[in-house]
């Protein structure tokens, strides 16, 4: 059953149209990957879903209700949390405070707590008093993921979580994804690292110039089809 859907989603930066009628579906308990080159509209899609970017109300449905018109804080309260591109940790807050601020508007109890996040990423427990921005890139990414989990989201939006990280660190972070999914969160991952995305996703959407150009189960997508959808026919 669809937990989150977009129907003909459009988005604009001023007069510039960044999304042109995007349709995606995230089923409950599933992991969806959005892949595409720089400027394809992947981050814009997550910004629209998370409420940072305004979009038509009915274009985004969450649990059968329109949420496109909601602002980011209300979207989070409905159960959609985001790990933003570039981590965006708060420099004034320690690691633990960065995690706690993720639970600022949490309603009731859920699976995720400080202890559970520290179990998932044990290194953060050792660094809990350090300023969040004093950590390595990989550890900062762990804080950003933990911070989003602290709201006990039903949907976790992950924007380019491998960006700028060493392969061994990326592997560690992606190793946490099954655990996150087992906690009950459905996941949308935006990635440029195609192999990572295909490895964890149940369904993949490929974007180019603000449109979905290919979609399907990872096993059904050929390398050539992905290449063409990623770079366009001319490049293929």
């Amino acid at each position: 059953m669809a937990l989150l859907e977009t129907h003909g989603l459009t988005a604009f930066y001023g007069d510039f149209q960044a999304l042109f009628g995007v349709d995606i579906t995230l089923d409950a308990g599933a992991t969806v990957a959005i892949i595409g080159a720089n400027g394809a509209g992947k981050t814009t899609l997550l910004r629209a879903i998370s409420g940072v970017l305004a979009s038509p109300g009915a274009a985004i449905q969450f649990d059968g209700e329109p949420v496109g018109h909601l602002e980011a804080d209300d979207v989070l309260r409905r159960g959609i949390a985001m790990v933003p591109e570039g981590r965006k940790l708060f420099p004034s807050l320690s690691v633990e405070e960065n995690l706690l601020i993720g639970a600022h508007r949490r309603a009731g109890h859920g699976y995720w707590s400080l202890d559970r996040v520290y179990e998932l990423f044990p290194i953060l427990a050792e660094r809990r008093s350090n300023p969040g921005t004093a950590l390595s890139g990989g550890q900062q990414q762990m804080v950003a993921i933990g911070r989003a989990l602290m709201s006990n989201p039903r949907v976790l939006l992950c924007d380019e979580i491998s960006l700028g990280l060493a392969p061994v660190v990326i592997r560690d972070i992606y190793a946490a994804m099954p655990h996150i999914r087992d906690s009950g969160a459905s996941i949308i991952i935006v990635e440029q690292d195609i192999s990572q995305a295909l490895a964890v996703a149940d369904h993949v959407y490929c974007m180019m110039e603000g449109r979905i150009t290919l979609q399907g189960r990872p096993a059904d997508l050929t390398r050539d089809a992905i290449h063409e959808a990623y770079f366009g026919g001319a490049a293929a």
Binding site: S50, G51, V52, E71, A72, D73, L76, R77, A81, M82, P84, K88, F90, P91, S92, L93, E97, L100, I101, G102, H104, R105, R106, R147, S151
Partner: protein, 287 residues
Amino acid sequence: MIWVDTIIQGVLLGGLYALFAAGLSLVFGIMRLVNLAHGDLIVFSAYMILLLVSLLNLDPFLATAIAAPLMFALGWGLQKLVLNRTLGDDILPPLLVTFGLSIVVQNALLEGFSADSRRLSAGALETSSLSLGGVNIGLMPLLTFLSAVLVIFVLNRLFYRTALGRAFRATSDDPVTASLMGIKPASVFATATGIAMIVVTIAALYLGMRANFDPTIGPARLIYAFEAVIIGGLGSLWGTLLGGVIIGVAQTVGAAINPEWQILAGHVAFLVVLVLRPRGLLPRAVD
């Protein structure tokens, strides 16, 4: 001994300046907003306390306890309805709007209360003193200073030890990402201004009990507050207390040398710090 006395009086006077400045420092630290009406809001609050004292025949301290939540509501509404609309990348709109607000408040007070000087009566407290090792310390200046320390301590605890303080700091760092955490930046800013207005009310109480006030003295209080904030380091609460003390000591020492130099000495101290430490003595990271 007279110099020891002078410096102690200066430190205690600094408490009053720190009270003037604490609300300004809080608001600046969270939303980078310089409220040019801050001094006038202190005077406005002093008149509110005076009104409660006169109409209900209350003790000034009790009147302050009633005025504080009213001022919180006023600050919350002012931020939510007016000042939030001026915040953005351009620093000019909030300056212009608060400058206009300053003029509106001054003229409204002139219209409502005339230009006559007023004072809040503190009774015997005004003339009571303690004798400590040959130095006489007025109870009112001592109470002012202790109140300033308490206010700064409470604000610091709020800022660094509570969920609200975390929200203040996160919103100050990055309002967009803070909204992804479920925080409403507009409400956080309104709450911060409301709290600043509670501090303003406490400052107004001591302003009114220690000296005469009239509708036009707000801008001078703003300058003292601004200087204390800059000396201490922008956004640093303990720095603000230190800044107030430095201005206070400079003024009393200046006055001891030549009574005409009192005000000038405070401004000179500010300029010296500005030249030597443009970021202030205790930048925010030290808090």
